[in-house]
Assembly symmetry: C2
Homo-oligomer: 386 residues x 2
């Protein structure tokens, strides 16, 4: 049993509980469910969400009604349950019918909201003991179920390893496009990580790179980063990873004042070249609406001079030093040398990555990388879960 709306948004809403009783109040309808829950729905909300073909264009599944075109004091002339649906007849003549599965999924009583919040995916924090999930290239290219498992691991753990990848340059694009289009940057669509004489980033030298996120110089750091090994004959150059969320949470426990400083004091990151000049001022740790750690922005080699008040400067240095010291702490660090035909794919806004120095005289080393935004990861997961 689906209304147009339930079909239109590509989801089905199972019947959790039937509608049993309705009570009309001056500005809202109180709906009682068979399992005893009571959900108030304001008349404005119900009219706004009318799924009829006059209010929602069924080809695009987008609303054509604008609620401002409806009277602010609109009330229901009548509300009843009809073949299990909520049926509301409005003053002025319009009638709206709501599927009870859809209605329950969008109820905004405290209990329903808390239930949905609890069902949201949570980050699984990790440390040096983490056995990162390993996926097989061929399966990811062919099997939507394997693809979904990979993407869920990226969303929840933020670090994955893929084996059996072809070593022809450019083959990274094939697997990236299993998720979506690639996010271009000034370094290209695919970027080549090789030691270069005219390097425009320390990434393109043979130096060690401290733990960092890529493109902290942009308003939106890329969500996913891929690093694909084509050739690795040089001594050194091991990959290192830490869970930035685990470190931030440990800092929150161990030194709350330092944690707050990194959440509140904005730091500028800069990357400059002959043809570009990117700058972004933002805190190192970002929290979500619930106060959970949601993003780390960090690259010492791209950082500009700190600018905060004279009074706060010592605290900012103390907090920054502490955070960097923690990224160097063995308890958090994974170290692995990547072999040709393997790739890392990780959450660039969470999992900080580093590289040991390598010796370019000892042999060739060629990695390719690219980025995909988090929007694309989450969209692909939702489509695969349909």
């Amino acid at each position: 049993m689906h209304t147009a709306a339930a079909v239109a948004d590509f989801h089905t809403y199972p019947l959790i509980s039937a509608l049993t009783h309705l009570e009309r109040l001056p500005d809202q309808l109180r709906v009682q469910w068979a399992d005893g829950r009571v959900s108030p729905f304001h008349y404005q909300w119900l009219r706004d969400n009318c799924p009829c073909p006059q209010c929602v264009y069924n080809v695009t599944r987008e609303q054509v009604l604008e609620i401002v075109d409806v009277d602010e004091d609109l009330v229901a002339l009548d509300a009843h349950i009809e073949q299990g649906l909520l049926c509301v007849r409005w003053h002025g003549g319009h009638t709206s019918r709501f599927d009870p599965g859809w209605l329950r999924a969008h109820a905004y009583d405290d209990e329903s909201r808390a239930e949905r919040l609890a069902a949201k995916p949570k980050s699984q924090l990790w440390d040096r003991a983490f056995e990162w999930p390993v996926f097989d290239y061929a399966a990811l290219m062919e099997d939507p179920a394997a693809l979904l498992q990979w993407l869920l691991a990226l969303r929840d753990s933020g670090l994955t390893h893929v084996r059996g990848v072809p070593t022809e340059p450019g083959s990274l694009a094939l697997i990236a496009k299993r998720i979506s289009f690639i996010r271009e940057s000034n370094f290209g669509v695919l970027f080549n990580v090789q030691s270069k004489a005219d390097a425009d980033s320390n990434a393109y030298t043979a130096f060690n790179l401290p733990l960092h996120s890529d493109l902290p110089t942009r308003e939106l750091q890329p969500g996913l980063q891929f690093l694909h090994c084509l050739v690795n004959d040089a001594d050194g150059g091991e990959s290192i990873f830490v869970d930035g969320f685990a470190i931030a949470n440990a800092l929150r426990d161990e030194d709350p004042e330092a944690f707050r400083a990194l959440c509140e004091i904005a730091v500028e990151f800069r990357n400059k070249d002959r043809h570009s000049d990117y700058r972004r001022l933002a805190p190192i740790i970002a929290l979500d609406a619930l106060g959970e750690v949601a993003e780390i922005r960090m690259a010492n080699f791209l950082r500009g001079p700190f600018e905060t008040s004279v009074a706060q400067m010592p605290l900012l240095y103390r907090a920054y030093r502490r955070f960097i010291a923690m990224t160097r702490d063995e308890r958090f660090r994974l170290v692995k040398r990547l072999n040709p035909g393997e790739l890392w794919c990780f959450d660039n806004r969470r999992t900080l990555h580093a590289r040991n120095a390598f010796d370019p005289a000892s042999g060739a080393r060629h990695f390719q990388g690219c980025y995909i935004d988090r929007d694309e990861l989450l969209s692909r997961i939702l489509v695969l879960q349909r």
Copy 2:
């Protein structure tokens, strides 16, 4: 007179005032300038910003020193002024030299910080009387000075018009690339705005579209939007623009409670298709760190059902209705029909755009559009200003 650092970041720092006096305190150096200003610099800060080739790799202009490798209690053994430069000799043997122009530009005493803040570009708000700036395609393609004027107008006013654009499909990409690469989306690199039978957005119908930003369904809404007219023989379809910042500021004055609700209560925007399912939960008005209006996120046809507490729902509807009513208010609205060979380029996160319904039976209508992120606009401005 430049140090390595001043050259390395592609900027020159004019000498505002000479260094006249230095005083060593336990954790900081107090610098006095010829114009009387006093700027404290903590030893950590000075050491961290040492521009010598040992601390900054001069090919990439990126720091190789990590401050955590320096003693937290590091003090200056000596500080003096040498040929106008600040010269600091550190405990442990390192010496740092700072250009006074660079130092003044990065001083963090209250006066210096307030001065820099006051110098930041401000949005110029507009209403129906706005005479939007008009630029000539040929000049933008050839003349860097004209290009810079256009980009500054985009940054500060958020709405520009370009004439004399070729009407061959795809020619939009040529002018967009004067700024940077184009941001791809699920609608393509360039998207075609035409009425389609299998529309995956109301944009691809002949409907009127209410005032909106594009891609509010993404974490980062595109910074710039281009709309290029190739053919416009259909009746109707006029472009409408409002300054979303002007409306938000008017709302703040006229109904502070409604303004706060739109800043604080997150709303979900959704766009779903057979191959994608984008969702983003965020407030309609975003403020910057100083409390100024920094972004509008709005598209009624992409909005999901409101979800907030039962107590707040009436306030959210009141605020939303008020905002939408203001976007319809004649005092804010510009209306113009675009002709072939003309394009709009506007700040998609500020300038809301709309389209009147058009009659596809009356003639052909073909627009092309694309997006570029704000990072790229600001980078190109900085490069052109060098």
